[in-house]
Structures are given as structure tokens and as C-alpha cells.
């Protein structure tokens, strides 16, 4: 009975000095590994606040006026460029007809006189693949310097008539919340080497620490093996 007991192996009850030291090293390694990997993400989770993008905050102030028709042309232009920024976020959103109608409608109302008809004509050609001369829209929306926004315009227009304009469809609000509210904190807003800090930590620091844990453990184990005279018995 005595003898069989000595052959028991249990991570939590190391029976020899070597195992004790070995397991201590393993536990140290595992703790660092766990804190770096999961601890940091948990910290990120604890610190985050759902933060809307500035353009979305601005849009939400304008939205009621879009519904009751009291928005000024400047506000129409702001709303239109908000829709444009939203449509530009993903190819899937560019398929969303409600958003495209809202963009075309607000852009229409941001314009004046003959330009309104020019926009309707352009929108009628949307999807036909014809080249669009949309410079007047860029100017009216104040995006003439923003190449990314301008590139979205031809894809954001859709055929509308002056009597079926919809400036804001409340059904699109959940989608807006989804795309314009982000989990941010000081960790995501600080910049390191150009990265948002949390991204830098997860993508680069974590991996580097993994390599360091391994280097450290190998060094420690080589020494430990020598100390306990174990290296030779395994060769």
C-alpha cells in the first residue's frame, strides 16, 4: 500500500521537490498567459462605454425635424452626408433601399431649384452603369474634398419622385444604432504606434508575451533539470 501511494501523480499535490518546482513554474506561466489573454479582454469589457459617433449624435438632433418637415437645407445636407457615411460602411448596407431613399430624399431637399431635378434625373439612372456627373451634389453636401464619401454617391442614389420622398424612416434606427455606436474607452481611444491601444495590445503585445513566456519557461526548466539531475536520465 505504501509503495503504490508514492506513484500517484496529482497536479495539485506534487509529491517530489522537482514536481513542486515544475508545477510552480507552470502555474506562474499559466497565470501570466491567462491575465494577458483573458484579463485584458475582461478589462476592456469592464471599461467600455457604448459611444455613438459624432455624426450620429448630430443626426439624432436633426431626425425629428426630418419627420415634421422643419429641417433647413443645411440640416438636410448634414442628414444626407450622414446617410452617405452609413451606406459607405458596408456593401450589405448599400443594398438597403430604405437608406438609399432617405439619402436621395435628403440630398434632394438640400438642393435648390434646377439642381433638384438634376438629382432626380441622376437617381433615375442609378444602377444603369452610366457615368454620373455628381459634382453639384458633392458641393451641396460639403463633401467635395472627401474622396471616400464621393465614391459612395453613385451607389447611394435610387429612383424617387418628388411626392414619395422619405427623409427618415424610424424602422432604420436599430440599424443605425448597430453601426454607429461602438464600445469605446480610454483603452480604445489612446493611440500607440498609430494603433488604437487595445488593438495594438491584442494583436502584437499578447503574441510577444506568449513567446516570452515560452522562452522563460524553457530557460527555467533547463536549469531545473540540471539541478535535479534529470536531464541525463531522459537522454
Amino acid at each position: 500500500m505504501e509503495e503504490s501511494k508514492s506513484y500517484n501523480v496529482n497536479f495539485f499535490k506534487p509529491s517530489t521537490p522537482f514536481l513542486k518546482e515544475n508545477i510552480r513554474a507552470i502555474v506562474i506561466g499559466l497565470v501570466i498567459w491567462g491575465v494577458v489573454t483573458y484579463g485584458f479582454q475582461i478589462l476592456l469589457r469592464i471599461m467600455e462605454t457604448p459611444t455613438p459617433e459624432a455624426v450620429y449624435v448630430e443626426f439624432q438632433e436633426i431626425a425629428p425635424k426630418l419627420t415634421d418637415g422643419s429641417a433647413s437645407p443645411e440640416e438636410m445636407a448634414k442628414a444626407a452626408s450622414f446617410y452617405l457615411a452609413m451606406l459607405g460602411k458596408s456593401a450589405a448596407l448599400l443594398q438597403n433601399e430604405q437608406l438609399k431613399v432617405a439619402f436621395t430624399s435628403t440630398a434632394h431637399n438640400a438642393l435648390a431649384g434646377a439642381e433638384q431635378q438634376m438629382l432626380l434625373d441622376l437617381a433615375g439612372k442609378a444602377g444603369s452603369g452610366e457615368a454620373m456627373e455628381a459634382g453639384f451634389i458633392h458641393t451641396a453636401l460639403g463633401i467635395a474634398e472627401n474622396k471616400a464619401m464621393m465614391a459612395v454617391v453613385p451607389f447611394a442614389l435610387t429612383a424617387v419622385t418628388p411626392d414619395n420622398l422619405v427623409m427618415y424612416d424610424p424602422a432604420t434606427k436599430p440599424l443605425m444604432d448597430k453601426f454607429f455606436i461602438h464600445n469605446q474607452s480610454v483603452l480604445t481611444d489612446s493611440i500607440v504606434f498609430g494603433f488604437p491601444f487595445h488593438y495594438f495590445f491584442t494583436a502584437l503585445v499578447t503574441l510577444t508575451i506568449f513567446v516570452l513566456i515560452c522562452l522563460w519557461y524553457c530557460g527555467v526548466m533547463d536549469k531545473m533539470m540540471k539541478k535535479h539531475g534529470m536531464e541525463s536520465s531522459f537522454e
Binding site: 501523480v9 517530489t16 507552470i26 499559466l30 459617433e53 460602411k89 493611440i191 488604437p196 513566456i213
Partner: protein, 561 residues
Amino acid sequence: MKRITYRALSFFIFLSAILLVAIPAFAASGAALEGGFKTIPAIILLATILLFIVVGFMNKAEGTEGYYAAGRSISRVGSGAAIASNWMSAASFLGMAGIMYGSGYHGLSYVVGWTGGYCLLLLLMASQIRRFGKYTATDFIGDRYYSSGLRVFTALIAIFISFCYCVGQFGGIGLMFKWIMGMNYSTSVIVGGTVVLGYVIISGMLGVTKNQIVQYIILITAFLIPAFILTFKFDYFWLIPELGYGRVVSDIVAGNATPFVTSLGHAVQTVPQPEYAMPWDPSTGKTFFQWMATCFALMIGTAGLPHVIQKFYVVPKPSDARWSVTWGLFFICLLYWTAPLYAAFGRILSANPEVGKLASDAIVVYTAQLGNVNPIIVGFLAAGAVSAAFSTVSGLLVAGSSAFSNDIYYRVFNPEASGKSQIAAARIATIAMALGVMVVALLKLALVAQLVALAFSIAGCTIFPLFLMGIWWSRSNREGAWASILVGAGFTAIALVYFICGKFGVALPGAAFVGYWLNPWYFAWIAAPLAIVANIVVSLATPDTPEDIRKHLASEVHGVR
């Protein structure tokens, strides 16, 4: 030697024939980035595959004494490189960037999960596995748990894991062949699959380890060169592209303007997209829980994959097992530090809606094209992706078929089998597996990285608990091991049935619940802990492990004297 030249020649002819047959098939797809047959990349691909075969034959001609001896003559750095190339597949090369391109920060759970697993492997298992002194994962489980039934069951699971893993690889190979030859996806999977099968059958028994070192060098060079070029071209800090792309991430988040244009003449700028970098952004549809669960499942999966564990049996000493993990991890990180760069450049270069929807899994190659990188280098990049897939697939097919011939055919069906008929069984198993994989790959069930993640989840909840408990708790016995592996296999079955039914439109009760909590990419997060609990409970309720096994474990593995 003559015969070897003849075989190499015949494979060359076979390969050229397939490529020639493919030329008329260039039904050019609409996207400007796709185009028809690309001669230079095709030649580079051909040359790369040939190089592997030549290195394999040269290594064999030197008269190495079989597979294991070949491993034992190689330095720690060398076997680290072999571990890295064995490990890095189409999922690392193409899939990771693809998933980050689509889901932003969520993709980093793959980057962290697929590297952090090596810490677990090193700290808890590597040198202990080497000291236990077996040759394969199934051998270890069969001996440690003194059960040939368990050995056969593990072999079946190992084959299934290899199968799932291969499906993802074939998807990646198909995408690259599609890109190189301008065929449709299905034809590409069949052509690419045939080439890889021919390669495995002809080169299956060649000097694998040295070949893997060559494969590593090719794939890491192919991956890093365009990263330097992209950061240099777009005026980011190019000396260390891994740091330089940080500003790309910030430019995406803020929608900053740059003075550059892409190869299609579009401005290098996006509308502001904080969703790309912010953690578990609602727009990606991925949650905090999914990030953590994916990361954890991939880590324990890494430490439970048979073809990864097997690498530690072939190093000369336990300390070499440890150092080769460390070198291996470093070599893996060289690619993983860089992969998010392709996703970020991909985002900013394909921002213009005119580019249209790109296949995420080919984003690495598209990014290089959009960045106007020289076509020869892009071709080399695609060849690197194929060779990453090749090295892993050949390892997996060999592992799967040898598990079949040794653990199932020889032990169960025909104990009197001669060496010759065992090899024949292995060959047939290889072909059957490759064909099966091809068929499943044609279904295009999910992204490359996700399909591979499935293999990790299975390994993480079946094999990993057996190794962990087997090494660190002598009380864990045969009955406990059965309970543990059945729990793991049960969870696998549930996750898979729900996934497949969902894909084919069959509604099962609780599909939303299972789809979220037991998703096939990460169900191991809960399945593995439960398997361990089952192991403990059942082991304690049944007789102790026989003394000779406890003695072997204590004295050989843990140095108790």
C-alpha cells in the same frame, strides 16, 4: 535513383497536363481582380510544388532512416520551423486575414487563440509527452488508459478531425487555383484537390521534416515581402510593417484621407469605420462572449490536435521538445504578427463600392493586387498560400490514413495484415479521405478559418482533456477517459447536427440557443470543462489506474524515483 527521377518526372507531366487542361476553362469572372489564366503565378506555383518534390527526393536519397530518424537529426530551430509549417495552413495564410477583413476585432480572437495554445502545449504537455515515449496520439491514449477500444475510438476522432481540417484547406486551395487559373470555384476545388492528392501519394513517404523547413521558408517569405511593399508604397513605417500598419487601422477608424490611389484608380480612404477596430462591435454581430469562447476553444484545440502533438515524439530529447515549441511559436508569430496588416490594407484599399464584394478568404491576394504589387510577387504570394495548404494537407492525410491503417485496419479488422497490405490500406484511405473532403469542400459551408476552427473545437473537447488528465492525474482511469471522450463527442454531435440542419434549412428546437452557445467554431469552451468534470467524477467512482501505468507515469514522465 533512376526510379526516383522517373517518378518526379511523371508527377511533373501530370501537373503540367492538369494546368494545360485548365487553360481553356478560363471563364473570366466579372471582377477586375480575377481575370483569366495567370501565366506567371501558374509557373511559380508549378515551380514551388516541384521544389518540394525535389527536396523530398534528395532528402530520401541521402538515406535517412525513415520518418522518425529524419526528425531526430534536425536542430531545435529546424524542428521549430517544421512545427510552424506543419501548423500554418490556408487558415493562417488566408483565413485569418479574411475573418478580420469581415469582422474586425473579432478576427483577433483567432490570432490570439492560434498562438496562445502553444503556451498551454509547452507548459502542460510538450516534454511530458516526449518522456512518455510513444509515437502517436492514439498510442498515448491507448497505453495510458490501457484500452484498445479507446484507442480505436480516438483514432476515429483523429480521422474526423483531420477530415474537417482538410475541408478548410481544400477550400483555400480551391480559391487560389480559382484565382490563378480563372476557373469557377467548383472546378478549382476539383483540380486543386487532384493535384494535392497526387502530391501526397507520390511524396507521402518522403523526408517530411526537411521538406517542411523549405515550405516554411517559402511561405513566410511569400507572406512578408508584400507586407514590406505595401507599407513602403503607401508611406507607412515600412521597416517593421507589423508596427507600420497601425496607422492604417487608425486611418480606417477615422476615415483619414491619404494622397494615394489603388491599382483600380480609387482613393485610398474609407468612410469612418470605427467598427473595424472596436471590440465586439455590434455591427459585426459578434459578442464579447464569442470572442472569449473562440479564443479559448482554439487554444485548447491547439494543445489537442493529433498532428501537432505528434511532432513532439520525433525530437531527440525532452528539452528539445520544449525549445522546438518555443522556436515554432516564434516562427508562427512572424506570420501572425503580420496577418492583420493584410486585413487592414484590404479594408482601406477595397473601400470604394466599385470594387464590389470580395471573397474574404482571398483578401490577402486581392489586397496585394489592389496595392499594385508586382504581379510576380502576387503570384508568389498565391503560391505561398497553396504551399501552406499543401504542407498541412499532406501531413493531415498521412496522419489520417496511418491512423486508419495502424489503429483501425490492423488492430480491428485484420491483425494478420502484412506491411504491404497495411500500406495499401493507407493508400486507399488517403484517396477516400481526399475525395470525401473534396465533396464537402464543394458545399462551401463556411469560411476557411471557421471550418478549421471546427476541427480545433473537436480536438479541444475530446483529445485535449485526455492528455491533460492523463499526464497530470494518475487517478484518471479508463472509465473516466471513456466518460470524458463521450461527453466531448456528444457535444460535437449536437453542434454538428444543429449546424448541418441549419445549413439545409431544417428547423430544430432551440436552434438559436445552440447556434449561439454551442456554435461549431467554439463549442469546446464548455464541452472541454464538462469532459474534464466527467473524467474526474467517473474516475473517482471506479477502480484506480493499474500500478504499472501509474509507475510509468510517475517515474518516466514526472521523474519520481
